[in-house]
Amino acid sequence: MTITESAVSTAGISLRGLTKSFGAVHAVDGVDLVVAPGETVALLGPNGAGKSTTIDMILGLNKPDSGDVRVFGMTPEQAVQRGAIGAMLQTGELIRDLTVRELLAMMASLYPNPARVDDVVDVTGIADIVERRTNKLSGGQTQRVRAAIALISNPDLLVLDEPTVAMDVEGRHLFWNSVRRIAASGKTILFATHYLEEADTYADRIVLMARGRIVADGPATEIKATVGLRTIRATLPGVDTDSLLMLDGVKTAERRGEAIVLHCSDSDAAIRALLPAYPAASDIEIAGAGLEQAFLMLTGDRDGAEVTTEELS
């Protein structure tokens, strides 16, 4: 991919040839990415894919070994100085002994053109807890306050690193509603997640990362079709995989003893084709393929299971 100079200066985020290693581990291994202003982009990938390391470099918390990072044409440091970046890091608690309102006022005082505390409180839906001490909040409430902190500089770019990991279903719902409102106000949003549903529902575009590289990049619907595979398992002896591959909607077929495993781009079509052709099939299970499996297929990586090792620190 080539990126022109004008694209860099007008882009919300521009990453060129980004690499970062920790010892022998290539956490980020040649990432090129351009995010347009106003876009909401999901960085999707399993743990250890390099999402957090990429985000740390966008935020200036980590220096790339090579490559270039620009945020609205500025270096991360310049962008931070201007309050152009707001971020909710993957891990982090709030400092204690202040009310939510006081903490927001404290953070606002650091920026040249901060947002109004009340506006940020509204958009993140924390009006009911704004007078509460930060050490008396639930996990979901804490996350929403952290989102409010990310917005207090009135940033043009909002970066969220797996923001809903610690939240329950209700908390997730409230949180993403806030993000929708923020996106509607024209801000550029980049969020990392390992949930395909989140990426699909809330992003305009999905960037798929595995092993420090971008393996797919496109509109959410397109990526979902690629990785949103389902698996059909059935007990079916004596049928060779080549014939199974002929069935509609089947992308790959495997034999495991008596059982067969079919990875399907369209499991509905596949099951309709499978049953009339092989009535002997029994113990049928249809399951959504995990992201890890999807990556395996995408990258054709036989030992792709290593991708699931813990996020690099």
């Binding site: 918390l61 608690e93 404290m106 005082s109």
Partner: protein, 242 residues
């Protein structure tokens, strides 16, 4: 100077009740426990209570200053340090706010000890009190840097032993508990080279001893210079996920 930021940083310190009350109570309790049974006694022609007040003032303010390290370490563990890196907060502003909280705690410690001294009948001369407080304030500067340094170097789990051990050694060598090495010799020289010694000396201004010699200013200045560089470096490096 960002007064809003500073105000909340101070407010936060005062509101942390367990920390606040415990750090202030410790020197007070110690003072009462040891000074009141010895009320009326003298130590080298100086009332014991006064002498002990001076010693406790040095030790208590030193602890107040260094305890900044504990709060920094806890904030780092909460990931707050990384959050602050995403703001335009300068290292200077950051240090200033941290040092200010240390001085606030030290000032309250000192004030409470003076009041405690008065309840045990210590006669305080305003001139000496002012001179002592001024010297103590200067003598605390290296400890402010030390607190920030260890706060950024150590995890809360290991900070306890590091601070406890480090402070005890410094306090012992500096003669905070009892004079070390007499008036001559190697141990005396070692003692003179610690910042604690001069902090204790600052306290002793209260009991009529002389203020710092040139050596005192040199020792405090050198420790300040070295520790400030170490603290700044530790802060700058400290962007990792803890």
């Amino acid at each position: 100077m960002n007064l809003v930021y500073l105000r909340y940083e101070l407010l936060r310190t005062v509101r942390n009740r367990r920390f606040f009350i415990f750090s202030l109570a410790f020197p007070l309790v110690f003072f009462y426990l040891i000074a009141s049974p010895n009320k009326g006694q003298e130590l080298g022609g100086i009332p014991f209570v006064t002498y002990y007040l001076a010693g406790m003032a040095s030790f208590g303010t030193m602890m107040a200053m260094i305890s900044t390290g504990g709060r920094i370490s806890a904030e780092r563990q909460a990931g707050w340090n990384r959050q602050l890196r995403l703001t335009p907060l300068t290292p200077r502003q950051y240090f200033r706010a941290k040092v200010a909280t240390g001085y606030l705690m030290a000032a309250i410690t000192l004030a409470l000890l003076f009041v405690a001294g008065l309840t045990l009948g210590v006669h305080l001369e305003v001139g000496r009190v002012v001179q002592m407080a001024g010297l103590v304030a200067v003598g605390l500067i290296p400890f402010a840097a030390l607190g920030i340094f260890v706060g950024h170097m150590f995890h809360p789990d290991s900070l306890g032993p590091v601070l406890g051990g480090g402070v005890s050694i410094l306090a012992f060598l500096g003669g905070a508990w009892s004079p070390v090495g007499g008036t001559h010799g190697f141990m005396h020289d070692v003692s003179l080279a610690t910042p604690t010694y001069w902090l204790v000396q600052a306290g002793h201004v209260l009991v009529g001893e002389q203020a710092w010699t040139g050596t005192g200013w040199l020792v405090i200045g050198s420790w300040t210079a070295v520790l400030a560089v170490l603290a700044a470096r530790a802060y700058q490096r400290d962007t990792k996920r803890v």
